[in-house]
Assembly symmetry: C2
Homo-oligomer: 258 residues x 2
């Protein structure tokens, strides 16, 4: 099977007007089939502030009311996605921007209201790669923003890490998929005080103790859960680290292992 | 050759929360290859006002500075485009949203600064339909917003009527293209006071006198120029009127003829 690289970038690259084009230039030059997933960074929050719309959070997670969903759709699928696509075109990488509604690629259901109503947030139920396969076969690079839909006309805000892992799993039927989560550190750190204390391999059987010991905490837990979910569902390779790891595979980063 | 219907809708449909889903339901049920082009309606203007960004106009035409381009990208390619795509999916029409940067489909150059600097406005230089052909062959309906790019990473605000006519011309190599411009009237009117005074056919040789007599004026002139440009470049059929004309071909509308 051919190798497909799926790369997720977040706010630390998207919000940086120097890092983003430099990353995209290198991404464009990557040989072989590839797919980019991007988060939204801080743009949605600053847009909401500029428009006088209150940003509602619950335990660090955004509550997506109708106004917030509009802002997310405008910034993620509009400004960020289209500028990434236009920049990739400038580097001769023929890209097409996607939300999960486009091509009916990522279907989700609105998260049920329990103790808290997170609003228009989607939990993915199905990924359709057939039209993406056709595009990749035609040397197109899909660029996904973190929005899904419910097939009833409703767009849904969806975690970008999860979109990346669900796409990776779905593509693993037809490709050897490598999934790279880029973030602001060289990898998962043994000690947050030491940027070089990268844990180079996280085995599944060691993961619970890393949580118990307080080494992996808070926001890193759902991220690494996503990684294990992917590696346990036929994704060939899952890595976390600086974008550098994609272009220089021998550079230090964290690899997730079954 | 197969028939491809290209339909352009404007503000009178996009801004109307009842008309838009009802139009999209009927559009979804249209048999055969089809493509939708949408303008932006009033949303960009109201967004700019909400964000405290001045809307600059010159003789009725918007001046697209960097802030305005951002708003246009957010509203046209983000909110409007993705909601149209999600609604079409709900009606079992598998759509993918496009700007001209996506798939490198619509290339333009920034309009040169002459007496007035219109800013980030694009004049189309090239249309690439090859990837759109692949998608249409795979029963996908492309949905275009009115944004092009310059292949150097710059998005450009571009007239939606022109995007529709340029796509129609480019597709005429491989399809019998029917181009429908939907607007708020039954067709081009002989008298603006009489909504039923539709001129059913405008022949090229009669067009100059209609302008001279003041029957076709102002904003209608560039629209009908676009129509003639299309019909003179191998587009099979060009019509102007209410959306009704697409679904009921015998209903009154204006047809442009060489």
């Amino acid at each position: 099977m051919k190798t497909l690289k799926i790369i997720k970038i977040g706010g630390n690259i998207i919000d940086d007007t120097k890092k983003l084009p430099s990353f995209l230039e290198k991404f464009a030059s990557l040989k072989g089939p590839k797919l980019l997933v991007h988060g939204g960074g801080k743009l949605a929050t600053s847009m909401a502030q500029q428009m006088g719309i209150e940003v509602k959070m619950h335990q660090g997670r955004r509550i997506t009311d109708a106004d917030t969903l509009d802002i997310i759709t405008m910034t993620y699928a509009g400004k960020i996605n289209k500028n990434i696509v236009a920049t990739l075109q400038a580097y001769q990488c023929n890209a097409i921007g996607f939300s999960g509604a486009d091509g009916n690629t990522i279907i989700a259901k609105k998260r049920p209201i329990e103790a808290i109503d997170f609003g228009f947030v989607g939990d993915i139920t199905q990924v359709n790669t057939s039209i993406l396969d056709v595009l990749i076969h035609n040397h197109i690079t899909p660029v996904f923003c973190a929005i899904s839909h419910d097939e009833q006309g409703q767009l849904l805000n969806t975690n970008a890490d999860t979109i990346a892992s669900e796409l990776a799993i779905a593509f693993s039927e037809n490709y050897t998929v490598e999934l790279y989560y880029c973030f602001e550190k060289k990898g998962v750190l043994q000690s947050l005080q030491d940027e070089d204390s990268v844990i180079q391999t996280i085995h599944q059987n060691k993961y619970p103790s890393l949580i118990q010991e307080g080494i992996i905490t808070e926001g890193m837990i759902p991220k690494i859960d996503n990684c294990f979910y992917a590696i346990n569902h036929n994704v060939h390779k899952v890595c976390i680290g600086l974008p550098h790891m994609i272009f220089n595979p021998t550079s230090i980063h964290t690899t997730i292992q079954k």
